[in-house]
Symmetry: C2
């Protein structure tokens, strides 16, 4: 029953992830550099807001938006493609102050799903909008509709072709595969408020209409002041069934576990159900845990008592 609290309490912290899974061996150094750059920029932008007293909610949204726009992660442009060859995007954001949340899923034409999730929270009586109805809301809010081609990169097209090719001649139904690069951010601001945000294109070769854990409050995204904030990444179906993010917070709240122990145990339990992946989690005092069961997890952290640090992006030519 140890607590991490007490030693060198940070005024503010920000942690981000760029997905949990192996780095494909054919990623070029330029691509790895672009991923590293995107994570560094996400930390920088979020840190600038937090250091000047900005809210954790704004900071996690801004950090996720940077990663959505990078073109090299599985969110926004560059997202994984579904079985029918187009990107379907999910995102959620949650405010630990009142557990207010906004969530969107199965978007096909919105460049920054995290911004639409924020608008669902701020401007509707709802928590979650999906599909055609969610895009109708985007249009009502004046958000431009992007063509499907905007989201499609050569790399994701090749990944889908490989997944489809692997099934050629098979009579099996769709066999989706985990895709590198879901993005997320969690933060504690100088006012002590927690927030979490997650954005993804989901699985390569997923069924049209499939929604994973990222936009599900309590599965891939959760924040509650005084308890913890979580953003997860991995085999989303298992994270949904085990309500992964809420489970971490329940262990912190009721089982009096540290966020490191709680998140580590939940990652192990997910793995025992076949759900590889990882998560970033922080407690009310700003202690960060970033456990994963996959080969690696792209991740980073920065805080008032800690320089910005990006981890998990292994460059071939040293780094």
């Amino acid at each position: 029953m140890n607590s991490d609290k007490g030693h060198s309490r940070p005024l503010w912290v920000l942690a981000i992830h760029g997905g949990a899974s192996a780095i494909p061996p054919d990623l070029s150094d330029a691509e790895l550099q672009a991923i590293d750059d995107a994570l560094q920029l996400a930390l920088d932008i979020g840190a600038k807001m937090l250091v000047s007293g900005g809210s954790s909610l704004d900071a996690v949204q801004a950090a996720v938006r940077v990663m959505e726009n990078s073109g090299v992660l599985n969110a926004g442009r560059g997202a994984a493609l579904n079985h029918d060859g187009f990107a379907e995007l999910d995102a959620a954001i949650m405010d630990g102050r009142d557990r207010g949340a906004g969530s969107v899923a199965a978007l096909r034409h919105v460049a920054n799903p995290i911004d639409l999730a924020r608008l669902v929270r701020d401007r509707t009586d709802h928590v979650m909008l999906v599909g055609e109805g969610a895009e109708k809301f985007a249009q009502e809010q004046g958000i431009p509709m992007m063509p499907e081609s905007y989201f499609i990169t050569d790399r994701r097209r090749r990944e889908l072709d490989r997944a489809l090719g692997a099934k050629a001649g098979s009579t099996d139904s769709v066999s989706p595969s985990h895709s590198r690069g879901t993005v997320g951010a969690i933060a504690r601001d100088t006012h002590g408020n927690l927030a979490a945000a997650t954005s993804t294109g989901g699985l390569t070769n997923k069924h049209f209409g499939r929604v994973g854990d990222s936009p599900i409050i309590g599965a891939g995204t959760y924040a509650e002041n005084g308890v913890c904030a979580v953003s997860a990444t991995g085999m989303g179906e298992v994270f949904m069934r085990l309500t992964a993010a809420a489970e971490v917070c329940a262990r912190v709240k009721y089982n009096k576990q540290t966020v490191a122990v709680a998140s580590g145990e939940v990652i192990r339990e997910l793995k025992s159900h076949g759900g590889l992946g990882g998560m970033i989690a922080l407690d009310a005092a700003g202690n960060i845990a970033m456990p994963y069961s996959s080969a690696t997890m792209l991740r980073g952290q920065v805080g008032s008592t800690m320089k910005a640090q990006v981890l998990g992006v292994k460059m071939k030519e040293g780094q």
Copy 2:
């Protein structure tokens, strides 16, 4: 820290709900009788399966299907209509054995959403399918597409007209209202397995694409062997933000509360966040709790040590 366990342990139990809210004063005796009949039939069909050793998963699905087909509850035919005048249907089912789950949302043409949720669980690698993609899956499975008119009843059309009329001349955005009649079922079978199922049309006048708590694992629906099973009904957005169903089970698991205390406290916490409603919950031993903060909750229960009983349907001319 009392436990309900130990006295007169039932071999099997089934609890159902037909939504939490006030009964509209203009409901005729015939309509009330039809609601009562639907709940009785749901209990009878489920009980027949459970008494002969059938699985809790099959029993909750069958009970919910009866209520979806009734035409007088807010699920399947007779569901609440959204702002644009058509029904959008959500449902989820969860198996406590492995926490396997299937969920569907924003359906417009599927007569029995609970059956499609079951197929998502049984025949895909996914947990949740939404919108057009979910209906594509339904067609792949040979499920007939119903016209939108199939779902629309005169009563729901009048309710929507009232909601829209109340906003006439207003510049406010969509103002959804809670609708009587979400349906759900939870059961423990003779093998000790728990299951939960929920189905709904959501809020009257909701935004096109809005998804509530019913199809969200951990919010409106949850089942975990050895812990508890929950199906909720009410102002779904608050149930989602507080991960209501998972929260009940976390309190049972980690806080060692009885299911009655846990569900009662969660209903009170939801109310303190503006979320009126109710839930049915049972623990591993088959103890049932059915708390609600709304004016009433249509509900029923039956078990190996308990006759079928329907509650909450107040008939004008006595009963």
